[in-house]
Amino acid sequence: MPPTTASSPQHARDQLTAPGQAPARAQTPAQALWRLREYMRPYYLMLFLMITAAILAVSSEIAIPLITKSVIDSVVVKGIRAELLPLSLAAMALGAIQAGLNFFRRWSISSAVVGMEKTIRDDLYHHLQRLEPAFHDSWQSGQLLSRAINDLSTIRRFAGFGVVFFITNIWTFLLIVALLIRMNWWLGLITGLVFLPVLVLCLRFEKRYRVLSRLAQDQQGDLATYVEEAAAGIRVLKSLGRRDEAAARHLAQAKLVYRTQVDKARLRGKFWAGLDMVPNAVIGLLLLLGTLAVSRHELSLGGLVAFVTLTLLLVWPIEAMGFIIATGQEAATAAQRIYEIFDTAPEIVNSAAAGDGASHDRPGLTAGRWRSSRKAAVQRASGSAGPPVRARRTAPAASTRGAGWLTFDQVTYRYPGAPSPVLRGVSLELSPGETVALVGATGSGKTTLLQLVPRLADVTSGRITLDGTDVRDLPLPELRRRVACAFEDPTLFSASVRENVAFGVQHATEDAIRAALDAAQADFVADLPWGLDTRIGEQGMALSGGQRQRVALARAILARPQVLLLDDPLSALDVHTEARVTAALADVLTTSTALVVAHRPSTVLLADRVALLADGVVAAVGRHSELLATQPRYRHLMSAADLGNPGDDGRTAPGLRTGASR
């Protein structure tokens, strides 16, 4: 897929992103930076006050050399002793005013920029949470992290100093040059003009520096990605004893970052040296011409001193201009990288039919930025070439509404970037309360099929209906309230057991949580040191494999969904526990429609019917015994031959037993 913006390097993301994903509007870094002003809006008044304060502050700073001039001209040269004290006191007063204004400026801007950084980060998090899993799959996680952390602090730094100084520096320049010209027009004009090359230098520098900073940012993102992977995969690296190899790979990437850093420093050195030279050259020139002017009485001695002092006051703003432009540049690339994410509209959103009103699960967020991106997504979702003509919402029959009647209608699904679809027309119907086992070989697409129901991905064609309504026409929160799943890898978080079980249900009662844990046979929780409040470690790593699986199962049970999707829910359980969970699940499943992925006959026994997924379609549906008898493929998948007793090949299965009999 083409990168979303013209300058986004290909390697920042995986190659195989959705080809259908519409590229976001390309924008230059400067445009992106300018767009950030929407986040400054709450602080406009403050910003205005601050800039005023800053301008007043530099003005009073500039006034001090004028006092110096008077001191030298009238007191020192003419010997008017009486003026010395008031003039000195005036200088001190101006100095105090400058300091006071600076204090005000800094104090007030700090809350503005910190607030802005926080808001953007919150929004970014908010937006990322709404982007579909396919998006997250296609982005290296380090890249997202480096945008949310590094790029945002770069922007904060620029917003805090860059913006204000940019304005005050220009003001300083104009004011000083005007003063100089007033004191001696030709000398002032020359001084002002000599500073112009500096601007050219800055602009040239900025252009080259931009390329390097973008490169550096991307390389750092890649490095962060590897760091993150190595942290997540630490167990594998350790158990295979691959730490040296990992370190070598990390070092190779870190060296790339190093090289770019050194290149950057070299460029900076050249630039700063040039910058330093210009003002000094101006002072040298002033000394030459100024003494000339003084000796020709075109300028007073105090005037010359003021000239030099004022010119010195010009040095910092001009030098800083380079710095500001450089950080501005970095901030602009950072802004571009951030808008790259903001401009990626969620592909999976409430369709127009579902109504916008129901979609507000975050009422606090009303700013225009959301509206615009959502609108784009909705337009795409409803008007694009995505799903072929599909029947508009068939009005659900009142009797089935809310019952959990799930149908798959010619569902096909192709992973973004994959050459051929995984699912090629799956049709299956689950009546309310029914439990269907989904059986298929490794990699046949069972997990893929399940994730289409809660719309973690959208079908490529065909449709899935819940009680007659296309799932794409249901408001997302409603759909996901009615459907719950237990994934094949129990996704747990480093929080308390309670939090992990209650996960999406915010107001779950203690009893409900315990009941869910009981149903999942997770009685071990009682033995944990702090019971329900025990933190279970990152990804639940402080639990055993089977314990993790049961916590995840309890989570799905607690949600009390109409449709329960269980992806191989018993794979990590021993036979006895499995039997107990199966028995308990049988009770839970009477109220829910369930689709259960199964690899073992024991899990299949949970089900009323079995669907065999093969070659991307449901090849057969029926009862376990029927399929065993009629479907050779099913027999192959489920037969225990050669497993179990050694040397007991070809033993025939001793017939079907029902789950209830155990």
Partner: protein, 613 residues
Amino acid sequence: MSAPPAEAWRGVAAEQQEDEITGKLGTLLRRRSRRLLTDLLGPYRRLVLVIFLLIVAAQLAALAGPWLVGVGIDQIPQLTRTRNAGPIALIIIAFAASVLVQAAATRSYIAGIGRLGGRVVLELRRRLFAHFQRLPIAFHESYTSGRVISRQVSDIDSISDMFDESLASLVSAVLSLLLVGGGMLLLDWHLALVVMAGFPPLIWLSIWFRRESAIAYRQTRTRIAQVIVQFVETFGGIRAVQSFRRESRNEDIFGELNQANADANLRSQRLLAVYFPGVTLVGNLAIGAVLLYGGLRVIDHQMQVGVLVTFLLYLQRFFEPLIDLSQFYSAFQSATAALEKISGVLDEAPSVPEPELPTSLPDAGGPAARGRQVRFDHVRFGYRDSTVLPDLNLAIPAGQTVALVGATGAGKTTIARLLARMYDPLQGSVLLDGVDVRQLADRALRHEVVLITQENFLFSGSIADNIELGMPGASRSEIVAAAAAIGADAFISALPDGYDAQVGKSGGRLSAGQRQLISFARAFLAAPAVLVLDEATSLLDIPSERLVQDALRTILTGRTAVIIAHRLSTVAIADRVLVLDHGRITEDGSPEQLLSAAGEYSSLHASWQESLA
């Protein structure tokens, strides 16, 4: 209607959370991080010296300017009188020379610092990464990957930023302060003393700032790490987050952490807001005082006008750097706080340390005997408070295949982890051919014992890359052979890019079973003396499992193996079965023996037979 308070979500754990530090601990931290810094800079002493000299040169050249201006101004009366431009021309030439020297020196020292910083940061990255790899799993469990990442990403970045942007300015500001002070004293010590009167308040202000900002910046580092942790976890589990509508709760939590981080940032910014203007104030008052006192001295002919001018120009150079100083000092503080955190990690001694003098294992006896003998000798082990294995005694002769079965949570994985030395026993020892695993070098141990964990993790990269992890440097044909042996070749070859197919983030582009097969292929390729398989086939369909088992039968001949499985099908290839119950071995024997006895195993087996229906 009230959601549980957001702080409670984290839950309780035995390990200490990273607390915000104050007082004495601060001194310790500073000392520790200073030691690290000297250590890092050690190899670059020469470069540091050169940079230092360059900065001195640049500063001296910069100081020459105002002085020359003063001298020039004092030449003016004479110039008006004699019309001899000679001295002025000389001064101008000297001025030009100083400008050139300054430019050249500046250019080289900035590049030099860039290189130095780059080197130091590279070394720091290297050490940190290697150290994290060396630290035991127990450490990672309590430290969490989010913090591991934040140490290596955001902390290192702030150090790198310091070198990039502020170190040069910081050093040159300090130098210019000293040099200008010295220069002023030489020119006119009376007036210089007036300037110095500003020092006590400045020093007081600086000490206050230094103390406060150290605390504030430490806090920002801690808080940003918490933000990172939440960020990483959320998007690592995005499917669960979305399908369980966790978004808004997550936003509350994230919002809170982010707010705390913002508060910490605000605090440090506000310190700056007090400090900078404070310095400006002192500086400006000093200018007024110099005007007053200097003016008097000039009127009284105790001093020349040129000197007063030089003083005024110097004052700008004197207090302005102070502003720079504090500006960059904040970057410096932030970097210091980061360095403290990093040095804390680097100081963390692995609780599963490598031996100082590793013992080597005896040579395996002949080509056929590729296995090692394994022995658990009175091993007691528990995670934190609870005891998982009270007293384990177990001997596995070389070449034996042992199946370990038992209820979930019985401690099977724990045994596997001890054998692979992910943890060390609290008591007793784990022996390999009679040698305590604690006596073996890490490399040697990993060569002998390979554990395929219950959590199979793939790195982003190609399938071949991931399999190769089992044996770095393996050729493509070896990789293909390993995959083919366990029956993974068929699905891999069917992928558009075959073995070069990208597996995606954490292997997300493969199905769970396919990921498990890849992990298995790694083990096959590694072919160690002792192979430990923890639920390595639990996600496979039955035909694939069967293929894997056939492969196992071949590869395990002569090797020692511990196979943990709930699917008793795996037991079929075992010579011996152990039943574990609450950390104790309750049954031990060949499958046939146990089957005929009326114990747990035969009951498990009966249920399993039944389930195979």
